[in-house]
Symmetry: C2
Subunit: 224 residues, 2 copies
């Protein structure tokens, strides 16, 4: 997952385990509803149960995992409804993020946004489609970071990953990603136009929402 990793430097086993479990969940290796048996995970990762337990608690707080005391943890179940819920929240929060990013624009943040867009363009050109979803998430994360609001960042990181997860698991990846929307959002932010930036962000998420809903309706069979 390139430079998307949440906990930048993996210094402890626990962080590695958390990232690895999150990766397995996002990739579908651990499908929704799958039981997370501490012993087995520990064995499969070559560690003891302690780091696994702590990871599971963190993932539960992030919403990827559900824990019932004495019964164990399972990967959260996904549904089209949850996808809709997520998009509702994202429209509100990413709108704010874009507005703040425009307000507090800096050369560094603009450069970062353009860098992600460049990478995305490259990935699309070279047909590395698996990376596109990651880069999309990376772009949205970059917008959030550009907003310079630490709580917003704390909140949005798991949320964007979860959105990516729901999207990839319930809807088919919508082929050619609409990068033009990203570009115009990036421009609005770089220009410091708050209203425009917010509008672009909301519109973009709304478009993704519609695309998600039609994909779900077409598929008619969400994995639950």
């Amino acid at each position: 997952m390139s430079d998307l990793t949440l906990g930048a430097t993996h210094r402890t086993l626990r962080d590695e385990v958390t990232n690895e479990l999150r990766r397995r969940i996002l990739s579908g290796e651990l499908p929704p509803g799958e039981r997370l048996v501490e012993d087995r995970l520990a064995a499969s990762l070559g560690v003891s149960r302690n780091p696994v337990r702590e990871s599971i608690r963190v993932l539960a707080t992030e919403g990827f995992v559900e824990v019932v005391p004495r019964l164990g943890a399972t990967v959260s179940r996904l549904s089209a409804e949850e996808g809709e819920e997520l998009f509702d929240v994202r429209m509100a929060v990413e709108g704010l993020a874009a507005r703040l990013a425009a307000r507090k624009r800096t050369a560094a943040s603009a450069a970062r946004l353009r860098q992600v867009l460049d990478h995305a363009r490259q990935a699309v050109d070279e047909g590395r489609l698996e990376e596109v979803a990651d880069l999309n998430t990376a772009f949205h994360l970059a917008v959030v970071e550009a907003a310079g609001n630490s709580y917003l960042s704390l909140m949005m990181k798991p949320m964007l990953l979860r959105a990516q997860w729901v999207f990839s698991r319930t809807a088919a990846a919508r082929g050619p990603h609409s990068w033009s929307e990203h570009v115009s959002l990036c421009e609005a932010i770089a220009a410091g136009d708050e209203d425009e930036a917010q509008a672009r962000a909301v519109a973009h998420v709304a478009a993704a929402r519609r695309s998600f809903l039609t994909a779900v309706r077409r598929a008619k069979a969400p994995n639950d």
Copy 2:
């Protein structure tokens, strides 16, 4: 172990420890910047280090605690900036929550909102001022619950607690709480008026934001 049992049905020590540590942080018993030494906390709670460690990870994910590998955990430091950041996010998210609550209004959720308001009125009348802050948070939580968006709830619970924390720690509690704003918000939700509900919610948070900022400026000495 001492009587940790706070309220609801805590099944596991770990949950009790999490709630107790969160309570100590919110109450100021564990002030911002305080180091959280696992041994000492475990001893003071009469448990082993394991439940404490898992709790600390959860609190870190929620943003109450900062963990640096190998160096340990500290209670997050607060600043007026963080308060502002928090209010920015709240305006966006609680506006959405109020809108959704109005859209999906049910008899049960309206009753719940009125119940909290009644309790608040009672508490104010009887001078139980310590409870007022809790009831304020409870009201905001009830609005979020009424929105019927599970991810919104997951996200907002720690956030509202954190807002209460920042507010109580950096600004003085603003004496007579403006319950009239809550009442009109409640009415707008019960009436199903989405625009009005959102506007009320945003205005209410904005008012709290202003009150927070003036209090901070007056105090001139945030605890850092």
